[in-house]
């Protein structure tokens, strides 16, 4: 389980994350939602150690976050983060070079699954294709946790469905997924738990099926209540 305890993050004087405590369990798909600028991406980056915390702690399976954990916690940022000059094949080799938990076979499977051309250059990929490659590089790792920043944003409908199908596939099974999105309504039924961010704090944290069962509300309804109130 990824545990976030009283994490604070300040950019200059702006307090982006005031006091965040939450958990993302393994085997569950947790969705981080919030209005623009509520610090969703910042929280993901803070968890991944890509930006220093102003306070608080991040623990993965009980141990404080350290660089060794990049083998078991994969992060798929909102843009593809490989140099434009690299080919898809070179990216795969790069991942194999540096990550012991990289599974070449699964990588090839994913390339096929997403129908990506290994010879194409990163710089020349369309936004959708780049997002798919990004997914491949993240999911190719035999990681226990996968964090994704806006995996669906700005992508054509078909690619989005294609990507969404990954959530339902065995690729995700018994892994902890924590992702952020704006298009919650399309993927609601894929999510186990929702964490709602508002002005740097956790507004609400709940399991979707419980809300549906107890209050018969969809996640979108709850969001309307919290954010429009």
């Amino acid at each position: 389980m990824i545990r976030v305890e009283h994490v604070r993050k300040r950019f200059g004087r702006k307090q982006v994350l005031r006091d965040i405590s939450m958990e993302a369990r393994r085997g569950e798909i947790t969705c981080l939602v919030g209005t623009n600028g509520s610090g969703k991406s910042t929280l993901l980056r803070a968890i991944m150690g890509l930006t220093p915390l102003s306070g608080g702690r991040v623990e993965v399976d009980g141990a404080a976050f350290h660089h060794g954990m990049y083998e078991k916690v994969a992060f798929i940022p909102d843009t593809l983060t490989m140099p434009p000059g690299m080919t898809v094949r070179a990216c795969m080799t790069f991942m194999q070079d540096f990550y012991r938990s990289w599974e070449a076979a699964r990588g090839e499977e994913l390339l096929a699954f997403f129908k990506l051309d290994p010879a194409s250059r990163v710089g020349s990929l369309s936004k959708g294709t780049a997002a798919k490659l990004n997914l491949v590089l993240g999911l190719g790792l035999n990681a226990d946790y996968v964090l994704m920043d806006e995996p669906f944003s700005g992508i054509d409908l078909f690619s989005r469905e294609h990507i969404a199908s990954v959530f339902a596939s065995e690729l995700i099974e018994d892994r902890g997924v924590l992702f952020t999105t704006h298009e919650i309504q399309d993927v609601e039924h894929l999510i186990d738990k929702v964490v709602m961010l508002d002005q740097g704090v956790i507004a609400k944290e709940f399991y979707c099926e419980d809300i549906r069962q107890r209050e018969g509300k969809s996640v979108l309804d709850v969001m309307r209540e919290v954010y429009q109130a």
Partner: protein
């Protein structure tokens, strides 16, 4: 064959628990005979992929169905629909009752006389479906 009877995600609404909707869907399949007694059903993982739902939800749906003894899973062989005719009959009755209750709830405000209502329902029911 299998894929046909499991429609993709569009069929689900977001307000009712998804796993219950899956269970209902199975009941409909059983009630309508598209799933015969004893027939094997897809594994949890296959179902999640087919229905494009979260594997945990598929897992929960299977657990619910096993509790309701709709399906039986021995060891790790694929799950099967129950043979228990009496249970199957009960499922059909449950579905009919739910449908009727829903229909009655929606029609009541119009306050039609009962026999007139019954007449309309018989006509609609016996009219050949356009598609057939």
């Amino acid at each position: 064959m299998q894929a046909g009877i499991f429609p993709p995600i569009a069929a689900f609404n977001n307000r009712d628990p998804v796993y219950l909707q899956v269970v209902r869907h199975f009941k409909e399949l059983i009630a309508t005979g598209r799933l015969e007694a004893g027939q094997t059903i897809p594994s949890r993982r296959e179902l999640a992929a087919l229905l494009q739902i979260n594997p945990n939800t598929a897992q929960k749906a299977y657990k619910e169905m096993e509790e309701q003894r709709l399906i039986i899973t021995e060891g790790n062989s694929p799950s099967r629909v129950t043979h228990d005719a009496q249970l199957l009959g009960a499922i059909r009755a449950e579905l009919v009752r739910e449908a009727v209750e829903a229909f009655v709830a929606t029609i009541r405000p119009i306050q039609l006389p009962t026999d007139e209502l019954v007449e309309i329902v018989r006509a609609a029911y016996e009219a050949p479906k356009e598609g057939e």
